[in-house]
Symmetry: D3
Subunit: 118 residues, 6 copies
């Protein structure tokens, strides 16, 4: 099973179509190079990779792409607790505003999946 | 055993003295709050926390503090392979120059500990 | 009176409850460590601390947390002029887009408090 | 013709009025120093300057100001292809999330000007 | 007295010559626009402006330019204590590595001026 | 001729060997994906790509990797004037300290190639 399938789950096709509509070449690099080449490398499990991605995205302050990887972390086996710890931990290195901003995004994401019964 | 002891190993006292010489209050916050309160939290093992710290420091581009946590990652059980994967993985989110800069720091650090027979 | 009371004013309890709903541990660190320990330190008055916080948040580009500290700057005695100067000054170090983005946030905040008669 | 006229086109007066309403002094620095002094310098054509501005804004992650310069790039003669290449190229240095975030902004901007028949 | 004179003190001419050797046009913008126009604005005293500059430079992680403004803060009347508080305070917003890196730069600068009997 | 050959010139083999010594996998991604796939794309000439890279590296504040692309800009046909303009232009978006730091790197690089008679 491809890395994208594992991370994007049932939404994999919808996400792929949306990426391609935005830019087919960038979509191809993200899918073939980022996901299926680099993310798929052995030597570090997918859950750890997603927690690292969450940290990088807290550093960048990109809320949309952060959401994708907060979901990806849960999808690849991280518990809610581990994601919360990753965010709290980031406050040490990246400051409280970045950590708080990320925690808001995560708590909204949990609230919404709760409402939908997911 | 304290988190600092685990991460700083035999250099713990020297590092603590140097921190205090720089600024006693900042040193106290780093030791008591950052290390013994936040880093010591359960819910995420120390090795993962150090790999996350490495990612955050690649994002910031702080080579000195990066070195501390590259060493900390090895000291808390990460293999050379896992550290290399963490750095390569960061290229996706933070770009190649940041990843390459970090890999240079890591490869110098490995070379030096090799020379010293460590 | 606690630092949070001075900065958050009449909204202090509402803000505290919201923070706790997002994450109780992160909320505790922000309240006990960030506000009541570090912000409360002598050696630099609260108004200056809030103007420094505004500058740091312009650097990060976090509009939500910026708003909190723009309000905090006014609440701790900064004039509208001093806040505007802080933002204009930041353009030298952080570029015009960051400064302009921050000035938009500030001018919306002033417009809204004007409407509400505050 | 002033640089602002070339870049802002028919919206020049509206943009100028909006800038002034936000802060007259910052507006003056942006118009007189940023646009009419630095952007107007010879030695680099306006199209290249706007593509460089796009790259800088991808680095900052400021979507509103990015939009201004994506439009400015097209207004100063860059083709859609050149703007897309600028964004894809930025992924190498600034990572995929920044590039993807910018490409979303650009593809929404193109969709909207398509709808309006522009 | 010009702002540069106040901040650069006896080194003003040497610094000006060095800036000009690097690039005469950039030197002119820094001297005429940054220092004599924006830094010279009323509405915020020079000491506060230099502490804000220190915060912005901690955010950027530019050690050379940070040193210039750490010296400038002292030259415009900030005490060692106020500079230390500015740096400690920045840890909340920008993380401990940035604050620690800046405190190292400041403590080296103090040590050197101590040695020279200054 | 490959993109690396054009940019790295006579140093191409030495640079390749050094990259490989640092990390063979990261070296491969930088050479095959970054240089020969993305940098080699049509739709934007190599000189413009290198000036964009310079801007991205000013934003990151990575002096070593900046040097590589300042050299690359000259090697792909940019004049000294165009590189200076790119750096001055970046001050508007990224602030004066980043631009000044980059101009120092560029002026040292020019001085050194002058000395070597190159």
């Amino acid at each position: 099973m491809s890395v994208r399938k594992k991370i994007w789950g049932e939404h994999a096709e919808k996400i792929a179509r949306r990426l391609e509509a935005i830019d087919p070449d960038l979509a191809r690099y993200i899918q073939d190079f980022a996901y299926e080449e680099v993310m798929a490398r052995p030597g570090l499990d997918l859950k750890t990779r997603e927690l690292l991605a969450v940290t990088a995205l807290i550093a960048l302050g990109n809320p949309d792409e952060l959401k994708t990887h907060l979901r990806g972390a849960l999808a690849s086996g991280a518990t809610e607790r581990e994601v919360r710890e990753t965010i709290i931990h980031s406050a040490l290195y990246l400051g409280f505003p970045r950590a708080l901003g990320a925690m808001k995004v995560f708590s909204e994401l949990l609230a919404r999946s709760d409402e939908s019964g997911a």
